[in-house]
Symmetry: D3
């Protein structure tokens, strides 16, 4: 980890997460409903249970989980046009919601879920970088609540979840390797990487992009170390909010 001084715009150390706050039961209808705040990034994550599966899975005795993601128009510095006004999802939104869904499915045994769908909705009410990773981290807690609801209702006998997981971003800014980029850092990053991991450090997703400066294998390893540290901490926050002792 680089031994730098207080270079970061918000005074953090290079390997330091922003403050994390997870509020459960944030709205009243969803089976799982979480407000996650990582610094100034705030996302409402809900998990909704629907007693059916999409056509391509019917009759196969398996469940499904899918995710949607959206920015409120003024979650951003300048107002973002609603996607419905263009009539279609942007490529960015599609990538993000596919990432969220795929990452969560990696820790769900869909066969144990039964023929039902869990809809995960991540609606960003304030964006300051890292909205997709905050969405994943918060959505996992909403998912735990929705699963627990199904168990309490006697719908499920055991949990189909097989690991805790969380996500964060890492990147290279002015040659420094940083954990959990805020918007200003993200904007200047030469390398930008989003990583989803299980609590024991196995990789679920890695998406790394070099904006102009391709990166070396060594840099990549350092970034992975940073991400692993951050994700272990995020899982602790998840457990604490769920009242689980470690």
């Amino acid at each position: 980890m680089s031994e730098t001084n207080n270079l970061r715009v918000d005074g953090r150390k290079n390997d330091q997460l922003r403050d994390v706050k997870i509020s459960r039961q944030y709205t009243k209808y969803a089976e799982g409903s979480v407000l996650i705040e990582t610094g100034d990034t705030k996302v409402i994550c809900t998990a909704s249970v629907e007693e059916s599966v999409p056509p391509f899975l019917r009759g196969q005795n398996t469940g499904w989980l899918t995710a949607e993601y959206s920015l409120l128009p003024r979650s951003t510095h300048s107002r973002t046009i609603r996607e419905v006004a263009r009539g279609r999802l942007s490529g960015r939104t599609q990538e993000i919601q596919r990432l969220i869904g795929r990452s969560l499915r990696a820790v769900v045994d869909l066969g144990k879920l039964g023929e039902r769908t869990i809809w995960v909705d991540c609606d960003v009410i304030q964006a300051d970088g890292g909205t997709r990773t905050a969405s994943i981290t918060g959505a996992y807690v909403a998912l735990v609540d929705a699963i627990n609801y199904l168990i309490e209702e006697g719908v499920l006998e055991e949990s189909p979840l097989n690991s805790f997981m969380a996500a964060t971003s890492v990147g290279v800014v002015d040659g420094e390797m940083l954990l959990d980029l805020c918007y200003e850092e993200d904007f200047q990053a030469q390398v930008d990487m989003n990583i989803v991991m299980t609590e024991d450090g196995r990789v679920i997703e890695i998406q790394g992009t070099a904006e102009k400066f391709p990166f070396s294998r060594d840099q990549m390893n350092t970034l992975m170390d940073l991400a692993e540290k951050g994700i272990r901490e995020l899982v602790s926050f998840q457990k604490k909010s769920l009242g689980i002792e470690e």
Copy 2:
């Protein structure tokens, strides 16, 4: 006002509003940003300033104000499909956002606003009836904050707002005339009316619909009285949240 006993599902009197809470500066980027709660209905209302006007107004030395409205998918009892997934706004959404924009424009002197647009966004995070009227009441406060911001910045010399205003619903349920319907009441209403008024009781918008039972002129007058009472109270809440003494 009818002298009934505690018929209402939530124990209110017929002419009683639900609890109102208005939180300003709810998110950090918008010039005006309000969370309004009326009972279990919760709406984020932002007012965003854009330094241009739509093509049809260019060069006419006048401003514009437009509104958009959306339900978060799990703001409702069962999950509502995002409109972008259908590729177009529903008729209901279009009606509501046209109503919000038209109502607010009625109290803004657009000529005094200069060649700029105010975007009002109303995003419902929890819906329990009366989302469109809560949106108008909350959006007016966000609008005041955005106008004050423009005055403080020296962009505007005087406020283009010429009256306080608010909105509420009234209706007939089981023959009873009620103020501020919650979802369960709204669902059963024989008559459903949304009214937008200035603080001195003049009508900006009235939209009344008979679901199966056309209503008499007498009933209509009683409903107008109820609305007027509610709107005066709502304007008091707006002023209190803005720190304005009455």
Copy 3:
């Protein structure tokens, strides 16, 4: 009623309707087909019977009625772009067709209609103000014809219609309260109100909008009186065209 002189652009008194002409059997395929002319506003209204209901009503032993509205491109002063060219309905069109459908359903006992749908189509071939209210007034006659057809064919035993109804506009122009606004009046109106009533003066729909000048409760009452007078006359025209003696 105001005692004014010939202020109105077309020489009418303030409380005077434009000339009304209702031509039945206007086209040959529809079960009900009417050309309604109110002054220079001309609308083809058809009522078409379809022997099924939308999915949300299947198996519930009830019928449905829905309406669509469109302007021919050159029904207007300058050519209006077809909505299909934009790929979607405008908010104005959606509002109008929802209004027409809702208003007509208020006088139909859908349970008596059986599991069938009546499609009401209102296509404006010439527009001079009041196209939505002319559509409702004309569509009601087409609906009567379609219902009579079903009775004659032995499909229905009794009529599901429980009242005559019609619609008109009222408004405030230059301080004058006027009945049945033509385009030029509508364009200048400070207040614009569309009212749908049964023949005995009960309100089905009221939609009133203040363009800049919120209106008082007194003004509203006067406008309601004007509308009531006009609607009684319109119902007379409907009955005469149907050969019903009053």
Copy 4:
């Protein structure tokens, strides 16, 4: 011409057109506005002048003419869904409106029109076969009226039209070669051909389709003869409606 007896469903001879009626000044705003009736097929054709050209023609000192076509929902036996409800034009509609526009442009000297566009709208209010050819025949008259309007207004000095023209259909039904097919004939036709010609018998467009039975060159020639006869008669009707003596 085949010497058959009264085989045709409506009693016509094989080489006989349906009754034709052309009503000019049908609506009041368009520069040219015609109702054409050919038997039970009825089409409103308007020609609207716009003082600009599409981007690809700007600054080239030439004009443009374009056409749009639509069926009213209940112009047909069973109700046709509006195209805007699907969000896009059908292939059939696109073909027809391209045909109408191309055919009319063939007799207009666009250079003489100046930098303006003529929008031709053909809205079918009752369809009984041959709607596209009736549209062309009627639209030509509306176009003459719009051009004459421009000449009377002093906008144009001379007419850019260089020939009368009209269109009809021919086809093979049960081995008989028929002129001007009504819907029932069209439905059964083995060969279906639409032909647009100038008044002196030159071909502007020919579109022939064999539904299952490819046709010989001899049959094609006979069909062309029939079409030529019909089109000469249609041009006479056009001239008569325009008060032009032949």
Copy 5:
């Protein structure tokens, strides 16, 4: 045939086709897959078998054949925008794919095909005029291969094809009547005609358009003669590629 000298841009005689090359089994998954080259025009034509029919044909013991057509973006001189980027098919594309499907269906006995659909896809990888006629000529060979596959697999007992067929273009350029127009000729043509014929010279489709200069019946006959000559030659190429001796 006109006795002209080497007027044509590529040195051909007026009644001469461009070089034709038909490559079968061009890609490995489709039941029929052909690359057809006519001069510099190159089209991949595939025929795909699907074991179902569209809803309007279900249970009627008949098959279906439908066609789609597309240009690769840089098949053209300057890059053509993908149609998906506009969200809808152009009128030109719809016309072409309807023409291809209709033409091929004219030689298929759909009843003999059984309840299955053949999808014909024509993707132009290089365009130098005549892409729609090359598509039809090539698609017919792909269709023969797909049918033979179904016979070899024992799915069909006999071929539902009842004739060879092919298509070409003819036109008038600088007063010369030409067979098989390349792009440069097509661009300058006064008359442009696409003709689809069976191998014995019967007409399946004729689509002729006068760009500014309506053409006489005599010209039309000469053009038909040219097309007939070309189509007989194209059928020979088809047979040769299929290893069928004439």
Copy 6:
């Protein structure tokens, strides 16, 4: 590298690429046009120069490069529906074309390109796994040709390209780590990773996904080694096809 026997479905060793063939000048209009074949995967890659930039870059003295990707309908085992038929791009397509564009831009100095856009089109004519990585590898060669064209034409003085680059996939199948997955392997993979690198082994993009089995950091390193080996070989093929000696 794992020392396995001929486990792979096509007889390759674990660290062996499929046969690669790169054909330049594949079509005649594009400034760069390549057919790349990697095993049975075949993609036409073109690079087209347009003398303008998108609005967000105008006047900034910089160029742009953007990519589009599409599957021909029968490039796949069973026919894939065209995206235009759904009216919008799938999430998968958007992800792929964003990846291609971003990867190529990482090696282009856009400032040196001048105010012009390079459109990269990757159209898959046969798909057997690895279509996105083959697209990138092939598109790079088309890009080199387009840049060389601009230099030869005197439009550019020096190349804005700063490194060779290529892409491949790696994955874990039945516990084996494999280079360059074909469709059958990709379908069964527990881990699937696409990697884009410069010729000297720096990472431009990494996208790794665990389908059910999150992977360890060790596995990830081995996969990176495999990818690096493959990409060096692919760059050799690119250079050979361009006639560049190493």
